[in-house]
């Protein structure tokens, strides 16, 4: 448990989640401010965080619970806080976590007609999906702002860096993600 006076962060096991939430609610943390998810892809876990606020004493508790990515299931808290239904619906859509007993699970919230894996998971490749589904307009160029680092004092090199290169932004980003073009760019800027 970490605390800096008014904000406390603690982690709880899945079995003690509902009991701990009810404890905190009885302790004065009556407002569910936010529910959010972190995708710990390397650990194979989701971390669902419940942010609870005490509006009288201005205390905040961030209660995290870790669940495995293979079986992402949680009990609902919508019987304690009714507004959690919307959070649980959105988390269900964006991360694929199922909340048992919550209404509107599986009902589209933003993504109407979505057929791929939930898009906020870290193993979902948004660029690849965009390339496959939405056509790009040819001629798009991107200017990497890293090329300007350290060059603003020299007028000539500044104008050189401003010259757009003959490459597509999309391919550049793809190469960047592979670690190809990023290294050369950083090399250029550190030469000076």
């Amino acid at each position: 448990m970490q605390s800096d006076g008014w904000m406390t962060q603690e982690t709880v096991a899945l079995s003690g989640l509902t009991r701990r939430l009810e404890e905190l609610r009885g302790d004065g943390h009556v407002q569910l401010t936010l529910m959010t998810v972190t995708d710990w892809l390397e650990d194979g876990e989701f971390e669902v965080s419940y942010i609870l606020t005490d509006p009288v004493l201005f205390r905040t508790v961030i209660l995290g619970v870790r669940i495995p990515r293979e079986t992402p299931e949680l009990p609902t808290v919508s019987d304690i806080w009714p507004q959690a239904v919307t959070y649980e619906q959105e988390i269900n859509e964006m991360f694929g976590i199922r909340f048992e007993g919550s209404p509107r699970q599986g009902v589209p919230f933003i993504l109407e007609g979505w057929k791929d894996i939930p898009p906020m998971r870290r193993d979902f490749d948004t660029l690849k999906y965009s390339v496959e589904h939405y056509e790009d307009r040819p001629g798009r160029r991107s200017i990497d702002t890293r090329r300007f680092v350290g060059r603003v004092s020299d007028e000539k090199s500044f104008t050189d860096a401003w010259e757009p290169r003959e490459d597509d932004g999309r391919e550049r980003k793809l190469a960047d993600m592979d670690g190809g073009a990023a290294g050369s760019d950083r090399g250029e800027t550190t030469d000076e």
């Binding site: 109407e112 007609g113 898009p119 965009s130 939405y134």
Partner: protein, 228 residues
Amino acid sequence: MKDEKIRRVPERIEPAPPDVLKDRAYDPVPASPRREVDPYCYLGATEVQQPLAYREALATIRNWCRANSLWVMAYGTGCGAIELRPLMTSRFDMARFGMAPRPTPRQSNVLIIGGYLSLKTLKRVIRAYEQMPAPKWVVGLGSCTINGGMYWDSYYTINKLDLYLPVDVYISGCMPRPEALIAGFQELMKKIKQGEANGWNEYLENIDDYKINQKRVIGDWRMPDYNW
């Protein structure tokens, strides 16, 4: 592989300036594909073909009237709608161009796409566009409508608006200032006066291609098709 699935909407080809004296087939009032005669411009909708000079004068007057009475649908799809609000205020004052914001597509004839379009919004925009009465124009606002803008790699926003709706004028910028919007609207008015802004006719002529493109990205199509 990607190109095979996309039905190409034909590129807009600039027509050669007509030689009025030699080319007798030149018609300044292009006929709508579904409705042969415009009863408001062919007085009485008679079978008699009016003289060419008469029809030219009529088309000029009609286009001038249309260009000076743009009623804008106030439908903000993205952050670009922020720059539309100053246009309505006294500083930029779009009423001096004869433009007025309207709350519903049935009362308006200019649809401004103010920024990025997610698929959920695109569905509503298509529905709104098809509900607008016939002389109607689409203005693409900001770089998001042109090539995706800063959302070019997003999983739920389209990149090229003119695959799905006929765009008459694009205004570039992220975001364009109200002055840029005024310049864009003046460009639209110029095109209307010259009779070149026929996006709604192209939408009807290529309706099958547009529908294929729209249904390709929109997963659950639960709307009626365009049928007027």
